[in-house]
C-alpha cells in the first residue's frame, strides 16, 4: 500500500513538532551552541576578553591543536602527564567498579537476604550525595593524621600521607619485589623520552594520592551501577534459573552460564558509561588535589579547565576538551567492538555474505 507522506491522518506533524520544540530549544541553547562556540574558540586566538566573535578574534586554523600536540614544551608535557594519570585511573576504576557493582547487585537480589531494601538504599546512597561533599569527607579520612591512618596504626602499619604522596604504585611494586630501586631508577628507563615523559614516568602507575581518589570513586559509583544490574537481574525469569537448577547446575555455574550472559547488554552499558565518566573525572581533582602532588592527579578535564580559567589560554583549554572527546569516542567504539556479541556478529556476517552471493548469482 502506497502512503503519501503528508496526507496520512495518523501523522500529526504540527503536534509532533510542538511537543519536541522545548527539548530542541534547551538542547540547542545549552548544548549545541556552546559546543559550536567552543569549537570556534579552539581554532581562534580569543584572549578571553570581550566576545569570542568580536573584532579582535581571528581564525588561526589548527595552530592551537598543533601547539599542544606537536610542540615540545610544558603544555604538551602537562597534557601527556594528565593522559598518563587518567589512563591508570580508568584502568583501575572501570573494571573494579563494574565487578563490585555486579557482585553487590547479585547479593542484594538474593531472596534469602533479609532487609534487602535497606542494603539497596544504603549502597545506592553515595550516588545521591554530592561528590564535593564526599570529597571533603575523604580529604579528612585520608589526611596524614586522619582516620584511615589511625586504623592502620592499630595493625602497626604506618600509613602514607595519602593526598600528599606522589609515588606511583607500579614504581612502589617494582621496588618491593626488587625489580628496581625507586630512589635510583634504571637509567634505561629514565634516559628514553617518549612524548615529553621518560619511560620511567610512563610506567609509574597511579600515585598514592590518585589511588585514594580511585577508592573513593569506586565506592561512590559501584552503587549507581548496582542499580542498573538489579534492574536487569529482575528481568531474568526465575524459570530459567530454576530450569538450570533442575539440570543440576551449581550456584557458580548458574552465575557464569545464566546470569552473566543475561546481563551482557547491561555490562556493556556499565562499562561504556564507566569509560566515559572516568575519562572526564574533574570534581575530585578540583576539590581535593588541584592536580597535585607533583601533578600526579592532573587529568585532561581539570587541565582544560585550568588552562582556560587560570592561565587564560582559552584556545588550549578548548583544544584539550575536543581531544578528550575524540579519545573517549574512539575508546568507546573500540570497547563496543571488543565486547560485541560474537555469535550475533557472526550471524550478521553470514547473512551479509549470503545476500552478496545471491546478488552475484542474479546477473549470471
Amino acid at each position: 500500500m502506497a502512503r503519501s507522506k503528508t496526507g496520512d491522518p495518523m501523522r500529526q506533524p504540527v503536534a509532533g513538532w510542538l511537543f519536541v520544540t522545548p527539548m530542541i530549544i534547551i538542547l540547542g541553547l545549552f548544548l549545541v551552541i556552546p559546543i559550536g562556540m567552543a569549537l570556534w574558540v579552539s581554532v581562534s586566538n580569543w584572549s578571553g576578553r570581550g566576545s569570542p566573535f568580536g573584532g579582535n578574534t581571528e581564525f588561526i586554523g589548527l595552530k592551537n591543536y598543533s601547539d599542544l600536540l606537536t610542540k615540545q614544551g610544558l603544555a604538551r608535557q602537562d597534557f601527556m602527564t594528565s593522559l598518563r594519570n587518567t589512563f591508570y585511573y580508568v584502568l583501575g576504576v572501570v573494571p573494579l567498579q563494574t565487578v563490585l557493582a555486579l557482585l553487590l547487585a547479585v547479593l542484594v537480589n538474593q531472596r534469602w537476604l533479609k532487609g534487602r531494601t535497606f542494603f539497596r538504599t544504603e549502597l545506592y546512597f553515595p550516588s545521591v550525595v554530592s561528590s564535593v561533599a564526599i570529597s571533603l569527607v575523604f580529604l579528612f579520612l585520608f589526611a596524614g593524621s586522619g582516620a584511615i591512618n589511625g586504623v592502620l596504626a592499630w595493625f602497626g602499619v604506618h600509613g602514607p600521607n595519602w593526598f600528599a604522596d606522589p609515588r606511583g604504585l607500579i614504581h612502589l611494586l617494582g621496588n618491593w619485589v626488587g625489580l628496581w630501586n625507586i630512589d635510583q631508577p634504571p637509567s634505561g628507563l629514565t634516559g628514553t623520552k617518549v612524548l615529553n615523559l621518560s619511560l620511567w614516568e610512563w610506567v609509574k602507575g597511579p600515585s598514592v594520592a590518585m589511588t585514594s581518589i580511585m577508592l573513593q570513586v569506586i565506592w561512590t559509583t559501584a552503587g549507581t551501577f548496582m542499580l542498573m544490574f538489579i534492574a536487569a537481574l529482575q528481568d531474568l525469569p526465575t524459570e530459567v534459573e530454576e530450569a538450570a537448577m533442575v539440570d543440576g547446575a551449581t550456584a557458580r555455574q548458574r552465575f557464569w552460564n545464566v546470569t552473566v550472559p543475561h546481563l551482557r547488554p547491561t555490562i556493556l552499558l556499565v562499562v561504556t558509561l564507566g569509560i566515559i565518566g572516568t575519562w572526564q573525572v574533574f570534581d575530585q581533582m578540583y576539590v581535593m588535589t588541584q592536580g597535585g602532588p607533583a601533578k600526579t592527579t592532573l587529568t585532561p578535564a581539570y587541565l582544560s579547565y585550568s588552562a582556560a580559567f587560570d592561565a587564560q589560554k582559552w584556545g588550549r583549554g578548548a583544544v584539550m576538551a575536543f581531544v578528550l572527546f575524540l579519545l573517549i569516542f574512539g575508546l568507546t567504539q573500540l570497547q563496543r567492538w571488543l565486547l560485541r556479541d560474537k555469535d550475533a556478529a557472526r550471524e550478521k556476517k553470514l547473512a551479509r555474505e549470503q545476500r552478496r552471493a545471491a546478488k552475484k548469482e542474479v546477473p549470471a
Binding site: G73, L74, Q77, G144, N161, F163, A164, D165, G292, A294
Partner: protein, 168 residues
C-alpha cells in the same frame, strides 16, 4: 612540607610546634597572635648561602583595559600607592609597604618586622612574564616532595621550560 605534618601551611605547623622554624612572610605575625598567642618566637633574616637572598612580591591594583574611566582610575591608584596611604594599609591590615621611602617609617613603627624589611635590600621578585606562571608551577610541583625530589633534574627542566616560555 607542612602537609606532611598535617598542617595547612608553614605558619600552622610552626604554631602547633610541629616545626621548629619556618620560612614565611610577615603575615605569620597575625596568625601567631590570633591562633597561637602562647607560642614565643623570633624573626630573623634568612641565612646567606652563596649570597644573601629572599623572595619578595607585591600585591597589585588592577585597571580594567576596557574601562571608560581609565584616567580617574589611574589617579586613584596613584594616590593609593603613596607612602602615606601604604602606611595606612600597614596599620589596618598588617601588610608591608612596597615603596622604599615607606620602609623606614614602617621599621620604626613595627620594629619586630625589621628582618622582613631588611630583605627588601637584596630580595628578588617573582618572574612576572607571560607563560612563566605554569613554568614556576611545574618547578613547585617537582619540589613538593623535597626529600626525594630530583633537584638537579628539576632545575634543568625549569631552565629549559623558562627559556622556551620567554624565548617563544
Amino acid at each position: 612540607m607542612s602537609n606532611d605534618l598535617g598542617a595547612g601551611w608553614g605558619g600552622e605547623a610552626f604554631g602547633k610546634q610541629l616545626a621548629a622554624m619556618v620560612i614565611e612572610g610577615n603575615w605569620i605575625k597575625g596568625a601567631m597572635k590570633n591562633d597561637f598567642p602562647d607560642v614565643k618566637y623570633k624573626t630573623v633574616e634568612l641565612p646567606a648561602g652563596a649570597q644573601k637572598g629572599t623572595l619578595m612580591f607585591t600585591q597589585c591594583w588592577g585597571l580594567a583595559a576596557d574601562s571608560q574611566n581609565k584616567d580617574a582610575a589611574k589617579d586613584l591608584i596613584k594616590s593609593l600607592t603613596t607612602a602615606e596611604q601604604q602606611m595606612a594599609f600597614a596599620d589596618a591590615f598588617g601588610v608591608m609597604p612596597s615603596r622604599t621611602d615607606a620602609a623606614e617609617t614602617y621599621k620604626e613603627k613595627y620594629p619586630e618586622d625589621a628582618a622582613f624589611v631588611a630583605g627588601g635590600e637584596y630580595g628578588h621578585g617573582p618572574i612576572n612574564l607571560p607563560d612563566m606562571t605554569e613554568v614556576v608551577a611545574d618547578l613547585n610541583s617537582q619540589l613538593e616532595k623535597m626529600s626525594t625530589a630530583d633537584i638537579a633534574g628539576a632545575t634543568t627542566a625549569f631552565d629549559e621550560n623558562a627559556a622556551s616560555a620567554i624565548g617563544g
